[in-house]
Symmetry: C2
Subunit: 236 residues, 2 copies
């Protein structure tokens, strides 16, 4: 049924423009996925060159946001969309705002790769990498759900965020224990902590993205709802 709604929409008057905007959102999402992948690889391999590249590429993410924002505003002014067409534009506007912030967090994560760590500290980075992969999978899945406007896939991502939160809390405890044992490492480990926090925030934003998909398909605002209400609304 979700697919029917979508194809009905695609056949509407402003077909071409809206398809282009959707493609641009996917391109922006793809760029950010690669950025996150590269930031994690830069940390895992102590590759400061790759890290610098991630930091520089964030400008491209910003450019995408500005461009898509303008495309959406132009469509609203020119096409005066209503109902589900307008809902799609609103969902896209919110989506790119969150994607841009995911880009910001990714840039912050990449900065950790500019530090050098001893072997005991390298062990701590393994857990950061695991959290990173988990969050990268969430990002991949929610972009995939966006491409197909798939409510069930969006719901799965939404639920995943709780697991990410628990993983983040466990890493935080571990890093604090390490700092207590080796206080001289505090400034360095703090950077790892900020990265873990950034990853947790990316998880939150993937959750937001899944809510915009449900908002578009179901026409219901599910932000700030409990997990139960959200599931009920999404499946009604």
């Amino acid at each position: 049924m979700d697919k029917l709604n979508l194809s009905k929409h695609i056949s509407s008057q402003f077909n071409e423009e809206i398809e282009q905007v959707r493609n641009h959102v996917m391109a922006m999402g793809g760029l950010i996925e690669r950025q996150l992948f590269d930031a994690l690889a830069a940390i895992a391999n102590s590759d400061s060159e790759l890290a610098q590249q991630v930091i520089a590429n964030d400008l491209k993410v910003n450019d995408w946001e500005l461009q898509i924002d303008q495309e959406c505003t132009r469509i609203i002014a020119k096409r005066q969309p209503a109902a589900s067409d307008l809902r799609l534009i609103m969902a896209i506007l919110k989506t790119i705002a969150d994607l841009e912030r995911i880009g910001d967090e990714t840039r912050r994560i990449a900065k950790v790769a500019l530090e050098s760590f001893n072997s005991a500290q390298q062990d701590l980075l393994v857990n950061l990498d695991n959290l990173g992969r988990h969050v990268a999978q969430m990002l991949h899945d929610v972009l995939d759900a966006f491409a197909r406007m798939d409510v069930e896939a969006a719901l799965t991502v939404h639920k995943e965020d709780k697991k990410v939160d628990r993983e983040y809390e466990s890493i935080t405890r571990q890093l604090m224990t390490y700092m207590i044992e080796d206080p001289r490492s505090i400034p360095k480990i703090m950077n790892v902590l900020w990265s873990a926090r950034s990853l947790e925030r990316i998880g939150d934003r993937c959750k937001n993205l899944s809510e915009y998909i449900i908002f578009f398909v179901k026409g219901k605002v599910v932000r700030h709802s409990s997990e139960e209400t959200l599931e009920k609304e999404a499946r009604s």
Copy 2:
């Protein structure tokens, strides 16, 4: 000249609806200002009851965001605004998204008041309070700039963020030094650090809010611009 634009706008057809939305944004902003003020007072006076109240009140902030978002969508669908009218709606949509996130950060700050601190740690909180007051002033000033759509006032807030960043960095260094000297305090001081980070992020968001004002009045997107370009565009 900015005032002329605004009054021209106010006399346009959908006068009443847009005025109501603007009033709602001001009400939402006023609530968040009070929330931040209360969160800081709760920390300064170790008032856990007030902190709980701030945490509970964040639901009201969320409600405002949902309501104003719907009002804006309704205006777009019904009034099909163009040019500066549409720009105002877009600026408001971005404004309430940032205000809601400021509310989230404020809720996180309030949680620090639920901890108990010894007298040495209380001394560290004084600096957090100073940073808090600085950021609260920025929030007040940018809401004031929004009410009058005053570009010069928005520019002043925009520049203030650099000072907040420096103040935040100085607090971070101080807190890290304290943790190195007293490693057992790390978990507690980490919470103070998160709060300082939240305040710094509120500063960033006030900067965003000032950019939306410039966007509305000048019709120019100044996000992601350098300070010099921004100033030139805003004064052109």
